[in-house]
């Protein structure tokens, strides 16, 4: 098997060399694109930041979720306050939402 794969690799190199000599029809970007003064579209956030952003946002979101649930568990009916619950929930869902979006992007599912 090893010999076959070595042969395949050698075949590959030879074939590529042959192809490079005899390929007249390789596409090249048309000059019109440069002449139109078009600028390339890039992602809103640099792609190399995606994993870091995912980890940080998810951890912050999970911390706020934990504080939300602790508040729910330790407060009694009288002392609970709805605005505090809603704000904590909204903040937690904001961070968790963005964190899961960046997690999807970092793992290659470009949504």
């Amino acid at each position: 098997q090893l010999r076959l794969s070595v042969n395949a690799a050698r075949d590959f190199t030879l074939r590529i060399q042959r192809q490079n000599r005899a390929s007249p029809h390789s596409p090249s970007p048309p000059p019109a694109a440069a002449a139109m003064a078009s600028k390339p579209v890039t992602a809103p956030v640099p792609i190399t930041w995606y994993p870091t952003l995912a980890v940080f946002m998810l951890s912050i979101g999970l911390l706020i979720t934990a504080s939300f649930f602790i508040y729910e568990a330790t407060s009694s009916r009288k002392t609970r306050s709805l605005p505090k619950e809603l704000t904590t929930g909204a903040l937690a869902s904001f961070f968790l939402g963005f964190g899961s979006l960046f997690l999807l992007l970092a793992s290659g599912v470009y949504v």
Partner: protein
């Protein structure tokens, strides 16, 4: 000729001869020099002709007609023409000219015409040199049509030895380039010679228009006859930074059909003899910086592939699960991701995708290609600009995190060769804020979960609101809440005590009596407030019956805490006094000793009580 033309071809020949005799004479253009080169080294027959046309008549000519026999015209995949300027070393070729199918009247039947529109009309006496390239697919006919594994793969190519044109030709020559030096047979016209793997016909002089002299070349061809019967190429744009290309291939070996049995042993031991016509590898040339390349089929991942990339291209060599002999088929999928900034640009408010059209595989013939460009959700006003004619359609695709689907522009074309691998553009309008819909959807989904939690905690789901156990539970909840509040307050008192102790320690370190006194005052105030808060809670507990068994403990706790407070205050004032009187350390300690013991004991008691109350 060693090989007969065949009945069908003889009929065509007869028709053409009749046509030639009855053909009219066209506008006074004369082709003074035609040099043709037929390249048969791959499965695509490429005919490049250098034509020098002279205007001999009186009127100026703005277009030149090309004639192709109809049987050949069915296989015509690509036709392009350029003007050549300069001679010899200074030759430059201009931009591609428009070539349109034409239907001139009074022409012989069984011919297809194409007209080349000249950039400026050719005046009387002027001449222009054109370079015409035509690519034909499926024109190398395997002959014999069925071969065994050990047979030699021979193909037959038929064309005309004299250049077929509606204009008279003064001087012409033809050179046919074959892949190997082995030629089974070829038509010998006058002035024919072979040099290795090339056959040269000509030069022929002063031939009338529509002159046609059929030639047939029968030769050995071992190059890969890879024909993709169907190719579906899907390009998905995501503005988060990726252009994902997925290509589904259905490949067949387009050469002579394989008959008899296939011996793997023979094939692997002597591949040159037993299986020279088969091909094992396919090479594809992808743009540089292609990532996440996968190669799989219906069974799963195919691991026999190699990828090599540099700054100009990424080359992949794929090896299907079995070698392909004549008539054998294989179907697989190749996918890869490309960086967004290499292929999507923005100009004048519109964005456009600039990407190559055909398959990136080397020397492959595609019988039918369906190219789908999936634009991000919320794109509008799309338009396509391709360098050649395609059929266009639209559809919708539901992909990740979509609400109403992504618009898809579908382009279809038949008979595609690698010359069609040029760049094309798809323009669309996209609002960048539409990208925020995706995280917004995730956020609302998760927030809905939180709201469900809140609702669950707030809502009272008991069926009977007046039963004794329900009321008892309600009361007990209230009692527990009150006890918790009392505990909170006691904890706050304890922390105030801690602060007092800390101020005493500071005093022993720094000797600042004023700060100590200030701390004492603050603590006093705080403790008074806390005891005020404590009063209504104790009153409530005293009034509710279910709290009966907890009430004594709570009262004990409160009482002990008060005692502790008093002792602590006493200790504090004693220590401050002794500092003011500048007594020694030992004296202070003596005075405080008994109080200190009681304080420690009380603290312990309070802690025990708190624990006990907690457990209830």
């Amino acid at each position: 000729m060693a090989v007969g033309i065949g009945f069908r071809r003889r009929l065509d020949f007869l028709l053409l001869v009749i046509a030639i005799l009855s053909a009219p004479v066209l506008s006074d253009l004369i082709l003074s020099k035609v040099e043709r080169q037929i390249d048969l080294t791959s499965q695509i027959a490429r005919i490049s002709s250098t034509i020098k046309a002279e205007n001999d008549g009186s009127s100026s000519v703005s277009e030149i007609l090309l004639a192709i026999p109809e049987l050949q015209a069915k296989n015509l995949a690509y036709l392009t023409a350029r003007v050549i300027e300069g001679k010899g070393k200074a030759r430059t070729s201009g931009l591609a000219l428009t070539v349109e199918p034409a239907n001139p009247k009074g022409m012989p039947p069984a011919l297809s015409f194409y007209s080349i529109v000249l950039p400026k009309p050719l005046a009387n006496g002027d001449s222009v040199t054109l370079d015409v390239l035509a690519a034909f697919t499926h024109s190398l006919r395997p002959f014999p049509e069925k071969i065994t594994q050990a047979d030699i793969h021979l193909v037959l190519f038929q064309d005309t030895g004299h250049y077929l044109s509606p204009y008279p030709v003064k001087v012409q020559s033809l050179a046919v380039k074959l892949p190997q030096a082995r030629i089974e047979s070829y038509t010998k016209l006058d002035n024919t010679k072979t040099l290795g793997s090339e056959i040269k016909y000509g030069p022929y002089e002063n031939l009338p228009p529509f002159s046609y002299s059929p030639i047939a070349i029968h030769f050995e061809a071992n190059q890969a006859f890879a024909v993709a019967r169907e190719l579906v190429r899907e390009i998905e744009i995501s503005h988060w930074g990726n252009v994902q290309v997925t290509e589904h291939y259905d490949i067949v070996h387009g050469g002579a059909m394989s008959k008899g049995e296939f011996s793997r042993l023979d094939y692997q031991s002597k591949p040159q003899i037993r299986g020279a016509s088969a091909f094992k590898h396919l090479v594809a040339k992808l743009p540089p910086r292609a990532h996440s390349i996968y190669y799989r089929d219906a069974i799963g991942n195919i691991s026999t592939s190699h990828v090599r990339g540099d700054s100009k291209k990424t080359e992949i060599l794929i090896e299907p699960r079995y070698p392909l002999f004549g008539g054998w088929r294989t179907a697989f999928t190749i996918g890869y991701g490309l960086p967004l900034h290499d292929f999507v640009f923005e100009s004048e408010g519109k964005r456009f995708l600039n990407i190559s059209f055909g398959s990136p595989m080397h020397d492959i013939v595609t019988d039918s290609i369906t190219l789908k460009v999936v634009l991000p959700e919320g794109s509008k006003y799309f338009s396509v600009s391709t360098p050649f004619a395609v059929q266009q359609e639209e559809e919708i695709k539901m992909s990740h995190l979509d609400i109403f689907g992504r618009p898809v522009v579908v382009l279809k074309k038949a008979n595609v060769v690698p010359e069609h691998n040029q760049f094309f553009q798809v323009y669309y309008k996209f609002n960048a804020l539409a990208m925020l819909m995706e995280p917004f959807m995730l956020i609302t989904g998760i927030f809905f979960l939180f709201v469900t939690c809140i609702v669950y905690v707030h809502v009272d789901l008991s069926i009977s609101k007046s039963s004794a156990s329900y009321l008892a539970k309600l009361q007990w909840d209230e009692v527990r809440a009150t006890v918790q509040q009392i505990q909170n307050i006691i904890n706050q008192c304890l922390s105030t005590h801690e602060k007092l102790e800390a101020s005493l320690r500071d005093l022993s370190r720094t000797g600042d009596v004023q700060a100590c006194k200030a701390a004492r005052k603050a603590a006093d105030g705080l403790l008074k407030e806390l005891s005020k808060e404590l009063k209504p809670l104790i009153a409530f507990l005293q009034s509710t019956p279910p709290a009966a068994h907890i009430l004594p403990k709570v009262e004990e706790l409160v009482a002990k805490e008060r005692e502790l407070q008093e002792r602590l205050m006493a200790k504090h004032s004693t220590i401050v006094d002794s500092y003011e009187k500048k007594l020694g350390g030992k004296e202070t300690e003596n005075r405080v000793a008994s109080v200190q013991q009681k304080i420690v004991a009380l603290r312990q008691d309070i802690e025990d009580l708190m624990e006990y109350i907690d457990e209830i």
